[in-house]
Subunit: 390 residues, 2 copies
């Protein structure tokens, strides 16, 4: 079974680009990924393509993968869309890894793209809502903020954590995103800003919620057999884990943990042969501030209920033992659904190859990316390892 | 690299079931697949799930894979939706094969489901249309019938074929479908019926077009390492090939051939180590009658322009050298988008295991399934081989 390596990764700025074509966004991310590869590579090298999207904002609901890959010059290459709501981009990378490991492809493009802002009035809210459970969440008027607010209420009730802790997630991630030229909300905020913000869905306020973004991201993967043709910097996909769970929150075992994340993390660690203590950084799915605290626990960074302590002690700050969301996370970098999970791997690749600019960590070896669909209906986790050049 | 085997396959009846839940349809197909397996198997054996759907009729656009797999008792199992328009179900099976070949899973469920008829007025037409190229086909008012009518016009103009030949496709496939208890339009028709029908999009008449169907299909695959636990009847996925092309017909090289089908077929034959002459039967994507003639040529059953001759000479009749669409094809069996490609493999499995009832062919060894997305934006081809029990 050949190993899969990431040899290039790039993305557009995440932001509000209602006039932008989804094709143009995808092409910009693809070009950025191509340019990031050390050696020469072009569309002709790609054997397989996988694209994550909820549906490019409704502009091309069917055949949306071939529609974007034809635009970057991939012809005759198998091109498939995968969708697992907000985890579509992460699952696209997972399928790309499988394509390599199955021996069917040597070089694979995994990408994600979404246009969310080109809608009138409340349409964006509805479009996001299609990833919620239909009958008992969406059709009863529960938005995603509402679902995560229920998780936050249960968490704050059960554990020693406060809404100020939720605001601390925002403060940390905005501080990181302010250093990321690709971030949607690229400004720092104070704890007062993040605490005194208007309520969205109690106990979540505006600073506890990620923005609705447009954007695209792309990752180029190569098998161990050919990786040397493209780069000497070996960023290996050491572990991949995925799991699903019931789509509706009320049907799940817990409101204060996401079982699919636990399973996905366990599987990824096992495949990689490492544990949370080996990680040098992580990108986790902080669509709402509560989700970051829960992710710490689901991924074994700390025990259940200890997420806020980890945050308060600065462990997940850039200077801490396990920096989380150096990119700014979904909260500050942004959340263009299908592009989000792929975009996490762009940050991880940049960190591992020393290209994270002002956000660069000191010589990291292991990084993790954690991408959640809906409120936990599906999760995918990747563990990347920078190998010494061989 | 472990081989992938189909150990079970089943489907619902295809038809018009506007009141039916997509979950119930999927569960019925899953149960039929489970019951078709020789040995004991249940949801707990499944390591991975892949579901093809255009969006279950809009009822659950996001997380539609976990939404149906949770309903059949798959928990914690990675569940991913794949979409390539009308080829979603075939691409789901391809991803399942990759999961096995990559070593990540031993038993995989690949399924497809669609509800198309639960819409008012022209909504079904629009919903189908989302798989067409958006700007130059769908938004200019070109339906799928219109796109295939352009292909038919070009074909009839270029080659020695007539609209009567198109009608012969319908006659053959309806004769087959009349023997299929799962078929949507399960009645025979005469050449006069199929010739004197009202025009849909000139030169295509009503009998040259497949129906809009609801339904689900499911296939259970196992790796060579564990297949013996489930069955002694070895139906191996000997070859898989896939390719994409430009989504819009006008952007493609030819109106009389589908390049993605040629490429996908070539790749599947190469992997299987067989050619068209070795096949004992094929299920091809006859969404419109012209598509079946073009498929004969793209898949190497005959030279370009010879498709009608093959049909007229009865080569593709059940008693001919290469029976095509013994299930009734999309034309008679029906076309519930996401379920169609998976359903083709149900027929192939039934033929290879001697369970095709009145449609049973005499001891077939090799069967092919050919599933096209849109008007040729993506194609996937599988070659199955029945191995002697070992």
């Amino acid at each position: 079974m050949p190993d899969a390596y990431i040899v290039g990764a790039g993305q557009t700025e995440f932001g509000t680009f209602p006039s932008e074509s989804y094709r143009t966004l995808f092409a910009e991310a693809f070009e950025a990924a191509v340019e990031s590869v050390d050696g020469p590579i072009d569309a002709g090298d790609v054997d397989e393509a996988v694209v994550g999207t909820l549906g490019v904002g409704g502009r091309q609901l069917g055949l949306s993968a071939p529609a974007v890959t034809e635009h970057v010059g991939l012809h005759n290459v198998p091109s498939t869309r995968v969708e697992n709501a907000c985890a579509a981009g992460g699952f696209a990378v997972r399928q790309a890894v499988q394509a390599i490991e199955s021996g069917i492809a040597d070089v694979v493009l995994a990408g994600g793209v979404e246009v969310m802002s080109d809608m009138s009035g409340d349409a964006t809210k509805y479009w996001l809502g299609v990833s919620g459970e239909t009958e008992w969440e969406r059709l009863t008027g529960t938005t995603f903020s509402g679902v995560y607010a229920q998780m936050a209420s249960a968490y704050l009730d059960r554990y020693d954590a406060t809404t100020e802790d939720l605001s601390r997630v925002a403060v940390k991630n905005h501080a990181n995103g302010a250093k990321n030229p690709k971030a949607h909300l690229d400004f720092a905020c104070s704890l007062a800003d993040a605490t005194d913000a208007p309520t969205v869905a109690d106990p979540l306020n505006l600073y506890h919620c990620c923005p609705t973004s447009d954007g695209a991201a792309a990752v180029l993967l190569a098998s161990g057999d050919v990786v040397g043709e493209y780069t000497d910097e070996r960023v290996r996909v050491a572990g991949v884990g995925a799991a699903s769970d019931r789509v509706g929150l009320a049907d799940r075992d817990s409101y204060t943990a996401i079982s699919a994340s636990k399973e996905a993390g366990t599987r990824a660690y096992e495949m990689a042969g490492v544990g949370p203590a080996d990680l040098d950084f992580a990108e986790v799915h902080d669509c709402f501030a509560i989700a970051e605290l829960v992710a710490y626990e689901d991924l074994g960074f700390c025990d259940p209920g200890e997420g806020a302590t980890l945050l308060r002690e600065g462990v997940t700050d850039p200077g801490g033992d396990l920096p989380v969301n150096t990119s700014g996370g979904l909260k500050s970098k942004g959340h263009p659904i299908g592009a989000t999970g792929t975009g996490q791997l762009v940050e991880a690749f940049d960190q591992l190859t020393g290209n994270a600019g002002e956000r660069q960590l000191d010589d990291p070896t292991y990084g993790l990316a954690h991408n959640v669909g809906g409120s936990g209906g599906a999760t995918v986790v990747h563990v990347l390892e920078r190998e010494a050049a061989r």
